[in-house]
Symmetry: C3
Subunit: 265 residues, 3 copies
Amino acid sequence: MSIITLTSDMGIKDFYLASIKGSIYKALPDAKIVDISHHIMPFDIAQAAFIVKNTYPDFPENTIHIISVDPEPSLNSNHIVIFKSGQYFIGNDNGMFSLLFDEVPDQIWKLTPPENIGSSTFPSKSIFVWAASLLAKGAKLEEIGERIDKIRMRVAFRPVVEEELIKGTVIFIDGYGNVMTNIDKTLFDKVRDNRDFTIFFRGESYGINKICKSYNEVPPGEKLAIFGAGNFLEIAINKGVEGSGGGANKLFGIKLNDIIRVEFK
Amino acid sequence: MSIITLTSDMGIKDFYLASIKGSIYKALPDAKIVDISHHIMPFDIAQAAFIVKNTYPDFPENTIHIISVDPEPSLNSNHIVIFKSGQYFIGNDNGMFSLLFDEVPDQIWKLTPPENIGSSTFPSKSIFVWAASLLAKGAKLEEIGERIDKIRMRVAFRPVVEEELIKGTVIFIDGYGNVMTNIDKTLFDKVRDNRDFTIFFRGESYGINKICKSYNEVPPGEKLAIFGAGNFLEIAINKGVEGSGGGANKLFGIKLNDIIRVEFK
Amino acid sequence: MSIITLTSDMGIKDFYLASIKGSIYKALPDAKIVDISHHIMPFDIAQAAFIVKNTYPDFPENTIHIISVDPEPSLNSNHIVIFKSGQYFIGNDNGMFSLLFDEVPDQIWKLTPPENIGSSTFPSKSIFVWAASLLAKGAKLEEIGERIDKIRMRVAFRPVVEEELIKGTVIFIDGYGNVMTNIDKTLFDKVRDNRDFTIFFRGESYGINKICKSYNEVPPGEKLAIFGAGNFLEIAINKGVEGSGGGANKLFGIKLNDIIRVEFK
């Protein structure tokens, strides 16, 4: 029996999430449901893609991911399922999938639910649950959709790379106030090529010229750079908490989409 | 094995919820527990009733719902279980059940737990878990309670209906800022009788004279009326988010218990 | 199959928690995972200890508790597992375990994970999941660690007891605003010895000279003292909610670490 994960911007206060779970159990009494996050910023497909991108490699094969952020189909977005890396991803083709995967996936299927499937205002409950339940029961992709060859593309912010510079962007700030950039370890190591470097943020006000392997390589309250859980370059404060200046975001005043520069010499 | 759902005002930060779950697993190692919501406003039985009312139809038969909002019994409230629509509802008879169901249920049972069942300060953990675990194991209602024929009534705000008018009330605002009224689709269609209409809110400042089938029938940032997931008349903003005015509640300054008027002609 | 519980300061918005859950399911497809709380204040091991202390007695034998608060090992802290009261407790030996248990446990094992176990920045996902999965599959403690005889001690605030006085401290404030002290029922009853008493808080501004058995022994909005779910002396307001003064913490201006005095005569 496959795991079904749920990622959404629904929050956990309203009745929407429980309605989806009830519907899954109705179709599939033995379902195993795992919440990824329901606190994606409303309609923020970039954040949804980031969260799922950093989570799905930890899940077992055949896991089915329902991603319900901006789920209403439109003239130029269809409900689709993608099969990639041994796992299934169900959602609205609103651009999110192009941010989730680094390349256009091979196996893209447009969902073809039965006509009377129910609520048009709540496709996550009707259509996504229908698709996920059938897949979990072992249905083949051709039984729930028809193959297509494109997903809707949305331009991701990618780091700008020069001979002696990487210019990245802050793409996520976690609950500890750790600041994550879009500069991943592979890119960093390649451009660095064993040279010395300084990571600048807030213009040139702050600089770090070392990468730590763990947060407590520096004393509590001290800043550090690290490749964190998602393997992205991250600016952090070791044990930065409220009352002692907070996390890196508050202490340095760093916001989403701010520029982070790495200079090599 | 039945599903046991949990609805409460306990939040998810403290140890109460986990204590309940542990107690269920202790009694019932194979339990399937589903959280409905634990963010009901403290002691707000109307909100609890609304959330459960909009959720339980999505759950399979024999689901057991524990509703822990204002759970302490008093001189005029007993712990009861109601069997309705093939599902069980356990809670304190504090008026909530009269708001949850549109008519007095047929099968009402006063719980008769053993005397030494434990904590009087935490009946949700002791008494409700006792009842739910036995029901999940297949106990009959007469084994856990004695039949009674009344529940405590609490007056619900119902829409006022006239020849050319429905006057409803805002009963819930969801996490997107969508504003839900107590006017359901059946009532609306009956009174409307194919006539034109205008939905007024904030006095006569705003009006909508069309019902959408999906949120994105209007452009992002535009207001709409829709019968949402719960089939109640809802005022919404398509993709209304912080930074662009927010949801309908913030943009129009609509609050719980505000009046919404529908005029027909 | 054992239950695996998770307690952390990770929150539920980021991808960390889901990564841990996915990793558990990958190692153990039939895992039963229960969230205790993920809203421990960042790095607050005292709060983590308090939450787990009040929860674990409700869980069945062989439950495995992963506690991920300040999980990075350091020069003077190891990753350990403790077997106590028939249950397993996995975490970083940063002082938390000395606050969780009233005495030094007998069975303490230093974890000895394989060298290439993965992320040094995220030991909760790599090392704790490794240990928990093996224990859940039935591994013996000697297969995952080597026995040691000490845990790191951290001084807990304990009540000061005199002939006619107990001076306690506020150690937790729950979501209802109920104020919990470190004075437990056993200590209180022993010192009281059937004498009259007054519980003072905020200096001598407020006093209570009675212990209630349930919150609604007093009218809504009235203050009371009670031994709550965790069996600690608690100051509460019956049905204290926002808009009518709030819970005891807000109404009386009581904060964490404030002194609560009980005088006997």
